[in-house]
Symmetry: C2
Subunit: 211 residues, 2 copies
DNA sequence: TAGATTGTTAATCGATTAACAATC
DNA sequence: TAGATTGTTAATCGATTAACAATC
């Protein structure tokens, strides 16, 4: 975001992680420059679109040269907030929740899971990879005391709405939601949904089209 | 798809599962009709867009009345291919893979997991919810013998490309990919990606914008 | 019949692509 | 300097919204 500029469209934001991923690969190969047309070949986006996208945030390139890969990767990382830190909890320590909790990709995105929460009293006190499971009764207090910013929601759909509302009421400002529900959150709260089922239905649709 | 009509845009296809989800809720409450403007209030899409979307596939409504909820849900289910059956395997029986394998949403979308595959010889012969884990050596034969159509890929990114190529070479025509890689597949193959990391970075971006 | 709401055409808006002057 | 490639403006394309005649 450049101050005073218009809001950047979501289509652009969706492409930023893709650029970042390719730039990571490229820098690991010690390639130190890339042109928009080379990046176009890698990503499948047009060179024109790539230049447009990047120029939403500033002129990172140099005429006649292209982009410095290390610098561009760093810039995109900053735009995506990768160097910010967010204390996070995960609600719903079932199979999917536990798998997510152990997922390493978090660290490099700045999300640190501080606790798991579950309705099942039998799980309370257990831990997943060293992260303790708490009772749902302690949710509000924990969020407030530890200034938790983000909640990952992996509970069944029946309890998802309630859980999300409780988290937000206690101070959470970001939700990563895996439950198949559509919920509206206050303006100052960000929700990002992973819709496994919708994705599967898309696959189903295109399989049908294909045959 | 209506024969002879133009290809329906992906934006439309992405909204179909949302319509289906709300129609399921509504029919469960025994509501038997709904207008595009009521559906608009529920989904957040404009009434105009809803009518446009649906008319890509046919006129399911009735002037002065609206849409019959049961019928519309059924029509959308058909469009999405929910009544098709796809024999499926899952490759990568790690934590995420095992969680996905146990996920029930599959059945209602027509995907039936017939086997799991893993590189780890120690896991071979185990089973997850009654589904047996096979050695990667048996992948090609299994796909061919059982006419497997779809592969769910939950291996680490290092092996994802190879695994996807092997599956496609053996006859798989649909990939549900959880690995953070960008891969191009042949024209007659459908790939649908779940990009956990990209989603998390989007959350990170909007958190940063918010604060 | 009168009222409601669709299906569909037309208008608008926004995103992508093309083009090219600026400049390294 | 000549060649390359950006940043940016203009043109195009496609998706969304508005409007309204058709019709239940």
């Amino acid at each position: 975001m450049v101050k005073g500029k218009d809001k950047v469209s979501e289509a652009v934001i969706r492409r930023l992680p893709v650029y970042h991923r390719f730039l990571t690969e490229i820098t690991e190969k010690n390639v130190d420059r890339i042109s928009s047309s080379e990046l176009s070949k890698l990503t499948g986006f047009t060179a024109s679109q790539i230049r447009q996208d990047l120029n939403n945030f500033g002129g990172f390139g140099q005429q006649g040269y292209g982009y410095n890969t290390v610098e561009l990767k760093e810039e995109i990382g900053n735009i995506l907030g990768m160097h910010h830190h967010h204390d996070t909890i995960l609600i719903g320590a079932g199979r999917l929740g536990s798998a997510i909790a152990r997922y390493n990709g978090f660290k490099e995105s700045g999300f640190a899971i501080k606790a798991l929460f579950d309705y099942d009293e039998k799980k309370i006190g257990d831990n997943v990879d060293g992260i303790k499971i708490y009772s749902m009764d302690e949710l509000e207090k924990f969020i407030k005391d530890k200034h938790i910013e983000v909640a990952i929601v992996t509970v069944p759909k029946q309890s998802a709405k309630e859980v999300i509302e409780r988290a937000i009421d206690s101070g959470v400002i970001g939700i990563w939601n895996f439950a198949p529900i559509d919920i509206t959150v206050p303006n100052n709260v960000v929700i990002e949904n992973i819709r496994l089922n919708d994705s599967l239905l898309k696959l189903s649709y295109y399989l049908k089209e294909r045959i």
